[in-house]
Amino acid sequence: MGCDGARQAAVTLVKTGVLVSRRGGKRKALLSYCVIASHSAAATAAHPGRGEVIMSEAIMSSQAMETAPFDPRFPNQNQTKYCYQSYVDFQRCQKLKGDDYEPCQYFKKVFQSICPNAWVEKWDEQLENGSFPGKI
């Protein structure tokens, strides 16, 4: 998943009116996704085939430590929205593109890194019940 992958995911969500950029129009929103994903793009370029993370490789290589990148949409201390937005974006991406669409995994990587596991479990339960408060 590189800049293109994240951009594809973002374009889908913007086109269908799911994602609306608050400032600067569509271009800026897409650009921010590119900035975010370029970090993972660099990592993918440096380690070809990292798309499928092989556990032992990731563990043993000291360059493999990678986490959710800085997101300019959420520059301050309060990262609650980053967590929630990534979770919701992942669900929407999956709904729109199906479970096999690789670029959706970017959102999953982010919310797994940022969101407390208890929150993710609670939201997963709510999704199963149909009581999740967000619009997917």
């Binding site: 970090h39 993370v53 556990m55 990731a58 563990i59 043993m60 000291s62 493999a64 430590m65 990678e66 986490t67 959710a68 990148p69 800085f70 520059p75 201390q77 309060n78 990262q79 609650t80 980053y82 967590c83 797994q112 890194s113 940022i114 969101c115 407390p116 596991n117 208890a118």
Partner: protein, 228 residues
């Protein structure tokens, strides 16, 4: 870590903390000079029985003792603002640690590649061995790699707590329903201690934080062995 009678700041283990210490020392010099000067003036006036019958107006000295403090304040403000902006810099972390405050322990989650979760309770004093630190040691320490930019996301599960490690210059409140992010880098290996900093009930003083800073390979070995 601090033992009793520690009045000053702990040795810095992070570049930002070192800068905070330098700033603190710089301000301390200015303050001591002011206090010495004012103290001397006060003492000399109090021990003097003479009275100046013609003390009126004196524009010159009024000007001096208005302008000089303003200049002193500029000497304090400039390094302060520099540091303020330095602390707010955007950096690219390599690892994210999540910590959740509970009554009365901290739980940690490393979810970047493997999902490692554990709770960190204080070692009770009666179970402490002779070399242990009372009210500071924990059963499971938080191991982190040194020389790596670390993002820490702090929240709470019940009431407000506060996560802090003075040696790293980090403190942020743990508020239920909110994720507070802060970032640090440890420049040396070692053990760094902190204590919960927001009143959270009966055992508020008994939920410490211990960070064990190790080299990257040791960290990777630890985390892979933890998940097994």
């Amino acid at each position: 870590m601090a033992t009793w009678t520690f009045l000053g700041l702990q040795d810095g283990a992070s570049p930002l903390m070192e800068q905070l210490i330098f700033f603190h020392d710089h301000i301390m010099v200015v303050l001591i000079m002011i206090i010495t000067f004012v103290g001397y003036m006060l003492a000399s006036v109090l021990s003097n029985s003479l009275i100046n019958r013609f003390m009126l107006e004196h524009q010159t000295i009024e000007l001096i003792w208005t302008a000089v403090p303003a200049i002193i304040l500029i000497f304090i403000a400039l390094p302060s603002l520099r540091l303020l902006y330095l602390l707010d810099e955007v950096n690219n972390p390599s690892i994210t640690l999540k910590t959740v405050g509970h009554q009365w322990y901290w739980s940690y989650e490393y979810s970047d590649f493997l999902n490692v979760e554990f709770d960190s309770y204080m070692t009770p004093t009666n179970e402490l061995d002779l070399s242990g630190f009372r009210l500071l040691d924990v059963d499971n320490r938080t191991v982190l790699p040194m020389n790596t930019q670390i993002r820490i996301v702090i929240t709470a599960a019940d009431v407000i707590h506060s996560w802090t490690v003075p040696a790293l210059g980090v403190k942020a409140d743990a508020i239920p329903g909110r994720l507070n992010q802060t970032s640090f880098l440890m420049s040396r290996p070692g053990l760094f201690y902190g204590q919960c900093s927001e009143i959270c009930g009966a055992n508020h003083s008994f939920m410490p934080i211990v960070i064990e800073s190790v080299n990257t390979n040791s960290f990777l070995n630890w985390i892979s062995s933890y998940s097994d």
